[in-house]
């Protein structure tokens, strides 16, 4: 009896699955690469209820912040749901799968390609003036030639260094190496701390690649160009810090900040959030800490990140959603937002405001933003980035040959494809 019933159940399962799969089949027509143009937004005050998702502190602060928008547009209601950064990517992905997306959502810059490729995002209409944004920031919204959403706030990476160990910040590659050596002669255990591979190391490395003049893909994002001589030059330079003993290969997690404030590490590369962390750790020691833009190779460059705001194509209140998004990108609103949550504005005009222009640390970030670049917003970027992370680890910890590393990265990236 058991045997029979088992076979029956098995057959039923197969039948159901087969039926479901029979309905499957990929559309052979068209696909990515073609640019879409957005329908225009109607003028006038917004109406309807706009559902907004925002992560972290932004999510917390946004609900109160939108009171000014509601004043301008009395017929509109904006409901903000704060979402934790932890697993926010999963939440948006499942929402898209289940058809439960909001009208507007904050989206990390490196997720744009993936979510735009699903067709869930609405292309940016002419209502938005793209010239006002930092170029690198605007590029993060470019997926295969069409722009989706807008950059909301940005972050970029600069050099944090100790003025008591390295009085002058370096302006070029040779200068960076010299500064590290000098700092070690002055008593530091390590001249600089750079991430030697593992999650997120690509964000520290890519600035060097861009400084060397390397391009990651071709113009229309369909092919990778990761094994160019410029790339190899950047890899060689990055590796030199580890092979020369200037940077640690096995710094325990959590040790960077205490060691830096104690003078054991003379410099490191990071974004705006470290200012607060270092202050909390040792406010008095901050007088020996200074920031500088990253040294130039063939040119200046850094990494730009942050978050974008995107409107979903399923939205029933498209006009109101875009009006809201446009309001958030006005320079004066961006300055207000900075005052509320300390997010760096993505609109360059906002940086002229005294609230930002007068801050000593922000000055450096503002300058760096002008030459900051973003990785290509392709759907497969996260996967390619993890390949770079793994190969960087081999480069820095196992002393692999830079040319071989570049070739491996290119091969694996090609196997993954750009997704466009």
């Amino acid at each position: 009896m058991n045997g029979i019933s088992r076979a029956r159940v098995g057959a039923a399962v197969i039948a159901v699955t087969a039926l479901a799969l029979a309905g499957c089949g990929r559309d052979s027509t068209g696909g990515g690469g073609s640019t879409e143009s957005a329908a225009p937004i109607s003028e006038g005050p917004a109406t309807g209820t706009v559902e907004v998702w925002a992560m972290g502190t932004e999510g917390e602060a946004l609900q109160a912040f939108v009171a000014a928008f509601v004043e301008e547009n009395p017929d509109v209601e904006v409901n903000v749901t704060a979402v934790p950064w932890d697993a926010a990517h999963d939440k948006i992905a499942t929402a898209i799968a289940g058809g439960q997306t909001p009208d507007v959502s904050m989206i990390g810059t490196t997720w744009m390609g993936e979510f735009a490729a699903t067709g869930a995002l609405d292309p940016t209409p002419d209502l938005i003036d793209s010239a006002g944004f930092f170029e690198g920031a605007w590029e993060t919204t470019n997926v295969g030639g069409t722009n989706y959403g807008v950059p909301w706030y940005v972050e970029t990476r600069v050099l944090y260094y100790r003025t008591d160990l390295a009085p002058e910040p370096p302006t070029d590659w040779a200068g960076l190496t010299a500064m590290s050596e000098q700092a070690m002669a002055a008593g530091a255990t390590y001249g600089i701390s750079l991430q030697p591979g593992q999650t997120g190391a690509w964000q520290t490395f890519l600035p060097f690649a861009w400084q060397a003049g390397a391009q990651l893909t071709n113009e229309d994002f369909t092919e990778f160009t990761l094994d160019t001589p410029e790339m190899v030059a950047a890899l060689t330079y990055y590796q030199s810090f580890f092979t020369d003993g200037l940077a640690p290969t096995d710094l325990p997690q959590g040790s960077l900040e205490p060691d830096f404030m104690a003078g054991k590490i003379a410099s490191f590369v990071s974004g705006p959030w470290h200012v607060g962390i270092l202050k909390e750790l040792d406010a008095a020691g901050m007088e020996n800490v200074a920031l500088a833009t990253l040294p130039a190779g063939e040119q200046e460059a850094s990494f730009i990140g942050g978050a974008n705001l995107a409107v979903f194509s399923d939205s029933e209140v498209r006009d109101a959603a875009w009006t809201f998004v446009e309001w958030l990108t006005r320079p004066e609103v961006q300055v207000e937002w900075y005052t509320a949550v300390n997010d760096l504005p993505s609109v360059s005009a906002a940086w002229d405001d005294p609230a930002i222009a007068d801050d000593p640390y922000l000055d450096v970030f503002g300058k760096q933003l002008e030459s900051a670049l973003a990785p290509p917003s392709i759907p497969t970027w996260e996967e390619v980035a993890s390949v770079i992370d793994t190969e960087l680890e081999r480069l820095c910890k196992s002393g692999a040959d830079p040319q071989e590393v570049a070739t491996t990265i290119q091969e694996q990236a090609v196997a993954i494809g750009t997704g466009l």
Partner: protein
């Protein structure tokens, strides 16, 4: 050397007669003590020491967590970590309760966890009982099916489950938070294994007396199962209380967030973490679990009257 005597079973299950020991030490070579338990006085002391050392090892992170929730952000980040706070402060907790709508999230977590726990206790013990003690067509297949799904990694069913729940209209509802976890294979497996150990004579005797299956279950079997039920209760409650990913995905407005989701919201950032808030949150989240554990833990070891079976 073997001093073990294998008593043979007798009809009725009575204890076999005890044979007198062959020498003063009872054949074990060890001096017998006057202890009525089955340990020796010396062993007790050693056991305490071993357990105590182990205890220090296992509780140190918890102690660090509790102490560090009273520290400033900078002190938490210090390497090597400090233990006693230099300047103890309740600021982390104050900030947590200020920013968090605590009653709302706590209620959500409590409702969901209690519902899931009670549901599991009822449904899993029912199924576990019949899987252990009954014969019926398809029993083996059923057990293997349930056990099999226990072995499937959770992340593979996340998207399909969400699509299913969305199509049922249960997104952002308490039902959506509770229903997927009411039938947990883990509970069935636990109860079945436990019920296997209950002697059939008890159940047969009750049947002979004419009790219905339901009555046997409620009046004979369940009272014997208290340790297993308590274990299942605490494990299910803990799992549901700390569940993060599903409540995050199912809730689309903050009023349905559970406590872990809300805490992650306020403490983890895109590039950095607010450790003070995180640890204060962790302490707050752990207190109800500890309370439930303390209440239930005496049931783990409630004596089961197995020895007087005739």
């Amino acid at each position: 050397m073997s001093a073990t005597v294998e008593p043979t079973a007798r009809p009725g299950g009575q204890l076999p007669p005890v044979e007198p020991p062959t020498d003063a030490t009872g054949g074990t070579g060890r001096r017998r003590t006057h202890e009525t338990g089955f340990g020796e006085a010396r062993a007790h002391w050693l056991a305490y020491v071993v357990l105590g050392v182990g205890l220090t090892v296992v509780t140190s992170p918890f102690i660090w967590m509790a102490l560090s929730s009273l520290k400033s952000e900078g002190e938490i980040r210090q390497v090597p970590p400090t233990w006693i706070p230099e300047a103890p402060t309740l600021d982390n907790f104050r900030e947590l309760f200020d920013r968090l709508d605590f009653p709302q999230f706590f209620t959500n977590s409590a409702v969901v966890a209690i519902a899931v726990t009670i549901g599991n206790l009822v449904f899993c013990s029912m199924l576990g009982y019949v899987l252990a003690k009954s014969e019926f067509a398809g029993k083996k297949l059923l057990f293997r099916l349930v056990l099999g799904t226990l072995m499937i990694p959770g992340m593979v069913t996340l998207v399909p489950l969400f699509v299913l729940v969305a199509n049922m209209g249960l997104v952002n509802t308490y039902f959506g938070l509770i229903l997927p976890f009411l039938a947990a294979p883990f509970g069935v497996f636990l109860m079945r294994q436990f019920f296997l150990g209950i002697p059939d004579e008890l159940i047969d005797a009750a049947r002979v007396d004419g009790a219905s299956e339901a009555r046997i279950f409620v009046q004979v079997v369940i009272p014997l199962a208290k340790p297993a039920l308590a274990t299942l209760a605490i494990l299910t409650f803990l799992g549901s209380w700390n569940n993060f990913l599903w409540p995050l995905v199912v809730a689309t407005t903050e009023d349905k967030y559970t406590l872990p989701v809300a805490l992650a919201l306020y403490s983890t950032g895109q590039n950095q973490t607010d450790y003070g808030l995180l640890l204060a949150g962790a302490v707050v989240v752990v207190v109800p679990v500890l309370i439930v554990f303390l209440i239930l833990q005496r049931y783990f070891v409630q004596g089961v009257a197995m020895t007087g079976i005739k």
